[in-house]
Symmetry: C2
Subunit: 305 residues, 2 copies
Amino acid sequence: MNLLIVGSVATDTIETPFGKVENALGGSATYSSVASSYFARPGIVAVIGNDFDKRYIRLLNSRGIDLRGLQVDKSGKTFHWSGYYEGDMNKAHTKETCLNVFETFKPEIPLSYRNVRNILLGNIHPALQLEVLDQVRKPRLILCDTMNFWISSEPRLLEKVFRRVDIICINDGEARQFCGIDSLPAAARQLLKLGPKRVIIKKGAHGVLLFGKDSFFALPAMPILKVKDPTGAGDSFAGGAIGYLARTGKIDEAAFRRAMVAGTVMASFCVEDFSLWKTSRLTKNAINRRASLLRACTRTPIFRV
Amino acid sequence: MNLLIVGSVATDTIETPFGKVENALGGSATYSSVASSYFARPGIVAVIGNDFDKRYIRLLNSRGIDLRGLQVDKSGKTFHWSGYYEGDMNKAHTKETCLNVFETFKPEIPLSYRNVRNILLGNIHPALQLEVLDQVRKPRLILCDTMNFWISSEPRLLEKVFRRVDIICINDGEARQFCGIDSLPAAARQLLKLGPKRVIIKKGAHGVLLFGKDSFFALPAMPILKVKDPTGAGDSFAGGAIGYLARTGKIDEAAFRRAMVAGTVMASFCVEDFSLWKTSRLTKNAINRRASLLRACTRTPIFRV
């Protein structure tokens, strides 16, 4: 286990213009861990309820994900999200959020996880994110993902988290909201002042921006003819990115750029089908081929007037 | 003269979070021709009224733009647009559009222009775009730009134009609107069936997508800390792109990609100040430096799992 992932495990009921799934496997820790499993050896800290389908455990096992930190809370059901997408599907509409056992979830890091080198702090209450950091010893790299809900309700706690992590991963709208600035480069500059090595701004179908103190990288998303379900794309991106960084051990600009490629490729597979149907059944060859394609279609020739 | 540009010449009154200008030089033909003038020898076909400031003529002259096709209609005022931008400025809000002499404008291509090799059909009524094409002899390359207004009011005529051009340049929202499809790759595929060599989808601050029958290129926009006024960015992009293609004479994938760089760089200068204040005073060195920067910050390393 060289990558600790804290977040949610959920069942999702999702409707898109291309179909509907009920109680499919979802959750930020799930998407991230499966995506990272092609690069690193992830373990998750999350909670499930008394209704969790055993086939889903088998799916996570099949990807070699360490489940020693997966708590089973018999007192209730698994976190459930129900929602739908329309049109260009760039916005999730929530029908229902049932926190269930996730409501009282306290991340407990197993002793055997406490020396872990790499951490992905998925989207949970910033107070819990801080508790996770208090339980581990000197990790090499911490990536933090968040969402608008915590930005509006817990901005101060979230800032505390941001000050303790190496990589902030955030949506474009959320970066604007947190910083109160419309310009993304200006927002990234402000976030970098909190101390992280890199700020990643995710723009969905428009790709990602990677900001360092003296570096900048922009990577478009893969062109996907038929996006079936965008759920989990951001989590798959984060999982692929930190998974690659856990594997390579390097943290120079080239390594971070490759991590953006890993994340982009994993997100592109994720959106091509519902739930983890595609992301859980990939080969390294398929990942390499798509990474080559991404490189080819972003190759900018030398230009001189 | 190796590039004919047909479009509007206007005076604009614009307010953004960074300031306000009144009766500044604007218009699609203006932005496009100035941007293209660093690469090609453009001439414009457009109309101005009895109020047009002589300093604006001097500005166009200073960029070597051929004005033999610029009609002066003494019967009225120059086309005037007044509008404002808010927040992230990705949407122009129109306060007032006074077509003035532009309302009865008929593009007349001077005899000396009729053998021109390259054409930019700026945003005017598709019927007029067709009239332009009927007046010229076998151009090498025609790029057509359009806008949502004609897509809703004249879709059939616009399709006729699309069938006669080599490059369709269109916004993401407009491509979705024209094709009735949400997926941009699918919309591009549909547009390519009309016959053009390339379809360029402009996504504002998110960059551009270049689609060919068997090729795809995605280029992010330059990161600009302070966008002062986005007016004319799309026209500057189109002008830079077709200007570069007019200059190089090539139309292979590498040439098209370099044209995307030229357009992106010119658009990035455009938004850094109001009107043509910045775009009209550049050096080739400044353009080359920015193109190098763009290449550096989009360089994707080789990736292998």
